[in-house]
């Protein structure tokens, strides 16, 4: 390539963008008129730019994953109070992180402990409802949640859908950190109370119940998977919902 061609080629990006001063724009144009090899290079650069500009709006219109907007709005709502560190979601998150930290230490000692499992997942339950509660009146289709579990985890789990039995509404499906990996977390509202169902793939445990950190945890296994259901209290208001989910999840 001749020195002059090299110099012109360095200007082609700005030439294609129309950001060169007029004098230089004219100089490049005159060179291209006289120099076929440079004209080819300019053609590629201008062609790609024109095509991308013409397609920009469509390229930018990527459909959003379900729930992303809601979660980002929730993050925004959480940040708009005057004293951010006082916000309940942050207090929950700090408490949850502390519990998780202690839990992680203990899990090295005894990974199989049910009480520890209950404590860790209670922390996740509190954190996720604090930070990722969907807008009022939003609910999630069980089939959609099931697809998400299959795509992201390769899990074949039946997700209990919303039901009038026990006034259960499926709100959201997330991934939460547990032990060495991420596990699915299904968030429900049961008779006005927050309820979480976690699934541990390929683990079997004896049925157990715990009350820890003001929450009630039920653990059971079916079909080679372990299910953990967390409700704020063990009282009658959520008993029907808990029975429904326990019967449906498999």
């Amino acid at each position: 390539m001749k020195p002059n061609c090299r110099r012109i080629c360095d200007l082609l990006t700005q030439y294609a963008d129309g950001t060169l001063p007029d004098a230089q724009q004219g100089e490049v144009q005159r060179h291209l008129d006289a120099c076929p090899p440079c004209r080819v290079i300019a053609g590629k650069e201008c062609g790609a730019r024109q095509l991308l500009r013409a397609s920009a709006d469509r390229l930018r219109a990527e459909p959003l994953p379900p729930g992303l907007r809601t979660r980002c709005q929730a993050l925004a709502a959480g940040q708009s109070t005057a004293y951010p560190w006082l916000r309940p979601s942050i207090r929950f998150a700090i408490a949850a992180l502390l519990i998780l930290f202690v839990g992680a230490l203990l899990s090295i000692v005894t990974r199989q402990s049910d009480a520890l499992l209950a404590a860790q997942l209670t922390a996740d339950h509190v954190k996720c409802f604090g930070l990722f509660r969907p807008a009022e009146g939003t609910s999630l289709d069980a089939a959609q949640a099931q697809r998400m579990l299959a795509e992201r985890f390769g899990l074949d789990v039946h997700v209990p859908p919303s039901s009038t039995e026990g006034s259960v509404d499926l709100l959201n499906a997330r991934r939460c950190l547990y032990a060495d990996g991420r596990i699915p977390h299904l968030m429900y509202e049961a008779n006005g109370q927050d309820m979480s169902l976690f699934v541990l793939e390929g683990e079997s445990r004896a049925p157990a119940e715990f009350t820890a950190f003001g929450h009630h945890t039920r653990i059971w296994s079916r079909g080679g998977n372990t299910f953990v259901l967390i409700t704020p209290k063990a009282d009658e208001s959520v008993a029907a919902a808990a029975r429904y989910v326990a019967a449906e999840a498999h």
């Binding site: 590629k44 650069e45 991308l52 397609s55 920009a56 930018r60 907007r69 980002c72």
Partner: protein
């Protein structure tokens, strides 16, 4: 279009509302960075967590959209660095090698007349995704998002001259990929967008 705000929103709620306007294009950009919906979703969510947490650091009178894209790219770079320090180094080396080799390819028989034909978006997206990361980012930010060279330099944390050469190489490679695709008579063989100025 997406408002290029040149002034800072007045309070936290305005800030959030204005930032959330850019959710879709940020997600599309995250998709081109990660090429994976789940990772793009996590990346965008992290970006908003950081943006809201550090909203106090946003300077009045600067461009909110550019600020959000800078956070998005910084977050992505940090993740990549955390994931594999070595891979990042190798990648940037490959980029420079590719840059040195690209663009000087064989002359193409350029028709006199330019025919701007629409290519299928899927082909275009696939061709973009095949570009080396650094070129794809630069071309996307310039030609799809229309940021200035200086803004892109800040986002990608590279000098402005590097931005321009990456845009240039990226565009040429993209053009060559599209025009060499087996069933793709797609391209505006635009020997001159240029030509219109004659």
């Amino acid at each position: 279009m997406f408002g290029r705000s040149s002034s800072a929103p007045s309070n936290a709620e305005d800030f959030s509302a204005e930032a959330l306007q850019f959710l879709e294009p940020l997600f599309a950009t995250a998709m081109r960075l990660t090429r994976n919906r789940a990772d793009a979703e996590d990346l965008v969510q992290d970006t908003f967590v950081k943006a809201f947490r550090h909203s106090g650091q946003f300077k009045r009178g600067t461009n909110l959209r550019a600020w959000l894209y800078t956070i998005l790219h910084n977050t992505w770079r940090n993740r990549r660095r955390d994931a594999s320090r070595d891979a990042v180094e190798v990648d940037s080396e490959q980029v420079e090698q590719a840059a040195a080799g690209a663009g000087g390819g064989e002359p193409v028989d350029t028709p006199e007349r330019i025919l701007m034909r629409s290519t299928l978006d899927a082909d275009l997206q696939a061709a973009l995704d095949e570009l080396p990361d650094a070129f794809r980012q630069a071309v996307w930010l310039r030609d799809v998002e229309e940021f200035t060279y200086a803004e892109i330099a800040e986002m990608l944390s590279v000098p402005m001259g590097t931005v321009m050469s990456r845009i240039s190489r990226g565009r040429r490679m993209l053009f060559e990929k599209l025009s060499s695709a087996p069933d793709a008579p797609v391209l505006p063989v635009a020997a001159d967008a240029a030509g219109s100025r004659r």
